[in-house]
């Protein structure tokens, strides 16, 4: 019943409308699996944050991770590129495969892994350097560009793909921190794609942005999906419905249900999913 909905969820009353629009994505061809997670458990010290999560993330598509706060979706995201390694006392068990290779294997250097799996964070976090330096940093440390002109080419194409080039072309050497929130987030996306990753992880990329900037980022995600495998954590069910082809619903550290976005939103199998997407809790 709409009248019983939590106030915080009120904006999501529009979700069903988008679900109708998103039906077209529902019939997905069986895309190859890019990331395969099997029985992933994550512990922060004594506390277990993820319980036996198994999930396939398809190539060239957007996978949305949804669920209430503290359900472990960000934890799962951060274990894909081993950002959890930086948290003291964090332990990951199980298998997360990227193209069939276990990312937690000893032979995998997290530096290489993070070059292959880029990440965009909740709060835009450009380096307090120029726009150019922000984008050029990744290619420079990985030695991707062989010369100055090639580097400039990478910066330009990355900014173009992030849809920011037109706005910053004439001020590449001004600080990236001087941009607006939405521009900063696109700059950060440009920084991530400058190292040509295979996967881009986005941890609530729009939660600090206004609706117009959000719409701009969502458009961008839709464009990027042709070239990259994108995993996005979001609190907005409307956003998950708008941008993703596959949705996974997490609750209390467990993966409750995953499937094509259209199905999850119109015909969830689990009653908890049903309750969450209709706003009964969350």
């Amino acid at each position: 019943m709409p009248s019983q909905r939590d106030d915080a969820m009120a904006h999501d009353t529009t979700a069903p409308v988008h679900i109708a629009v998103d039906r077209q994505h529902a019939a997905l061809p069986a895309a190859p699996v890019k990331i395969r997670a099997r029985d992933v458990n994550v512990f922060y010290g004594e506390k277990q944050a993820l319980f036996d999560v198994s999930l396939d993330v398809p190539e060239n598509s957007v996978t949305a991770l949804i669920g209430p706060s503290g359900c472990g979706k960000s934890t799962f995201l951060r274990s894909i590129n081993r950002m959890n390694d930086t948290i003291p006392g964090c332990k990951v068990t199980g298998r997360i495969e990227l193209d069939g290779e276990d990312v937690n294997d000893r032979s995998i250097d997290p530096v290489v892994l993070r070059a292959r799996v880029g990440m965009v964070f909740q709060k835009p976090n450009p380096f307090p350097k120029t726009i150019f330096e922000n984008v050029a940093y990744g290619p420079r440390i990985h030695g991707i560009a062989s010369g100055k002109t090639e580097l400039e080419g990478i910066v330009e194409s990355s900014l173009k793909r992030a849809g920011l080039w037109a706005e910053v072309a004439d001020r590449l050497h001004q600080p990236g921190t001087g941009l607006s929130g939405g521009q900063q987030q696109r700059l950060v996306i440009a920084r991530a794609i400058a190292v040509s990753p295979e996967v881009i992880l986005m941890d609530e990329p729009c939660s600090a942005l206004d609706p117009i900037a959000t719409a701009r980022i969502e458009e961008l995600i839709d464009e990027l999906r042709n070239q990259y495998c994108i995993v996005i954590v979001t609190h907005s069910m409307a956003q998950a419905a708008r941008v993703s082809q596959k949705t996974a619903f997490f609750h209390l550290g467990k993966l409750v249900e995953a499937g094509p976005t259209g199905e999850i939103f119109t015909n969830p199998r689990d009653s908890r999913t049903q309750d969450y997407i209709t706003g009964r809790f969350g």
Partner: protein
């Protein structure tokens, strides 16, 4: 209606609040008053301190120079050994000639003149003759400071009103000085000698150059050791070291070391650097080593808090594009922490500059009449120079003590300003 159930009707509430309002305002006024009084007391102490130092010390920066033509009598100077001649007597006789007097047979008058003329003039003559023996037989004009007691008379600190037997200079000497001053032989000016000479047994010839150079050399040793070691230690502890019982223990100990009395570092330096490692005592090297030990905890603590202030989002951003931990720290975190690091480092160096107690332990409290000869030569430093002069008995050293404090304070202010400028210039916001 449930209004009747409310315990306090609106009118009552207003009265209750208003009744207490006066009390609350009074409390606020009282607190502001206490605050202002505290500031006034603090400023008053500072004003008294600075005022006293400046009024005592400013006169050092004025000195009185005398210029006299001296005839280098060939019969009194042995060409083969010019060192043997009594140049002070020649100067005294020339001054007497200028005053229109002649020495008596016992040399009483020339003796009195020697009490008001610095022996620096005699030294100058000796030096000139040694360098150029052809000067013997000629008359040359030599100029130098008057004795410090004479200068004190010109400055009004020795007064004619004082009974003659209670002051160092008798009436005749005062008359002579008035006469010399009136004739233009004695002139006053800015005391450059105080800044270009080193310590001396004669107050009028004592200066702070040796102490300044000693301080700078010592600080150079301190900075080159304490800053790199401190910054690297702090960076390792903050960014790389696992957080466990051992690193906690190290952290607690570093914080404790910062509170250890400085004289203990002096004892440590004496035992380790001088007795065991045989570093020359009283040298800028050993002083710098001791002060580096003393500054390390402060530099480490300042660096750690500067590193802590760098938002974690920057580390995540760098790690997220595939930077290694070392790259993350050295490309992003440390540069962003640098203003804080530099401010902490400069302030701890300023503290080291003013440190006295540990240096007394390692033999820096010695009479060093010159600039230090290298990092292993004997040296003195500004605060120790203040300590030495304060203990001297001649009255002329009292004003020099205050003047040396002024010089020390000027260096302190310069360093603190540098710290502020560094912070302003490189401060970033994100």
């Amino acid at each position: 209606m449930t209004d009747a159930a409310l315990p306090t009707p609106a009118t009552n509430l207003r009265q209750t609040v208003e009744a207490r309002l006066k009390k609350r305002h009074a409390q606020e006024m009282r607190f502001r008053l206490y605050g202002r009084m505290a500031i006034i007391v603090a400023l008053a102490f500072l004003a008294v301190l600075l005022g006293r130092i400046v009024t005592q010390g400013y006169s050092t920066f004025i000195d009185y120079q005398i210029a006299v033509p001296v005839h280098l009598d060939a019969s009194k100077i042995d060409k083969a050994d010019p060192t043997g001649a009594n140049y002070d007597l020649m100067v005294a006789n020339s001054v007497l000639a200028k005053l229109g007097e002649t020495d008596d047979e016992f040399g009483n008058k020339s003796g009195k003149v020697m009490e008001i003329m610095s022996n620096d003039l005699g030294f100058q003559l000796l030096k000139m003759v040694r360098e150029d023996p052809s000067l013997i037989g000629k008359t040359i004009t030599v100029s130098g400071p008057v004795k410090s007691d004479a200068a004190l008379y010109f400055k009004g600190q020795i007064q004619r009103a004082t009974p003659e037997d209670e002051r160092k200079l008798d009436n005749q000497q005062l008359d002579w000085m008035d006469k010399l001053k009136a004739s233009g032989a004695v002139t006053s000016g800015f005391n450059t000698g105080f800044l270009t000479r080193s310590d001396s047994t004669e107050p009028e010839q004592a200066g702070v150059l040796g102490a300044i150079v000693g301080s700078m050399m010592m600080l150079l040793v301190t900075a080159t050791l304490a800053i790199p070691i401190g910054v690297l230690a702090a960076t390792y502890l903050e960014e790389f070291a696992p957080k466990n019982r051992w690193t906690d223990l190290i952290e607690v100990n570093i914080n404790n070391l910062a509170a250890v009395p400085s004289i203990v570092y002096g004892l440590l330096g004496l035992a380790v650097f001088i007795n065991w490692m045989a570093v020359p005592r009283s040298s800028p090297l050993v002083g710098g080593l001791v002060l580096a030990l003393m500054s390390l905890p402060t530099v480490i603590i300042a660096t750690r808090s500067a590193l802590k202030a760098v938002p974690p989002s920057i580390r995540e951003a760098a790690l997220g594009v595939g930077a290694s931990r070392t790259q993350t720290v050295f490309h992003h975190v440390l540069p962003l922490a640098m203003p804080g690091v530099m401010t902490g480092a400069i302030l701890s160096l300023a503290h080291a500059l003013g440190e006295t107690a540990p240096l007394l332990m390692i033999g820096m409290v010695s009479f060093v009449p010159g600039v230090p000869e290298g990092f292993t030569g004997a040296a003195t430093v500004l605060p120790v120079q203040v300590f030495i002069w304060e203990n001297a008995s001649e009255r002329g050293f009292h004003e020099r003590t205050a003047a040396a404090i002024i010089v020390l304070l000027v260096f302190m202010i310069i360093m603190n300003l540098a710290a502020i400028l560094v912070r302003r210039r490189f401060e970033r916001r994100w």
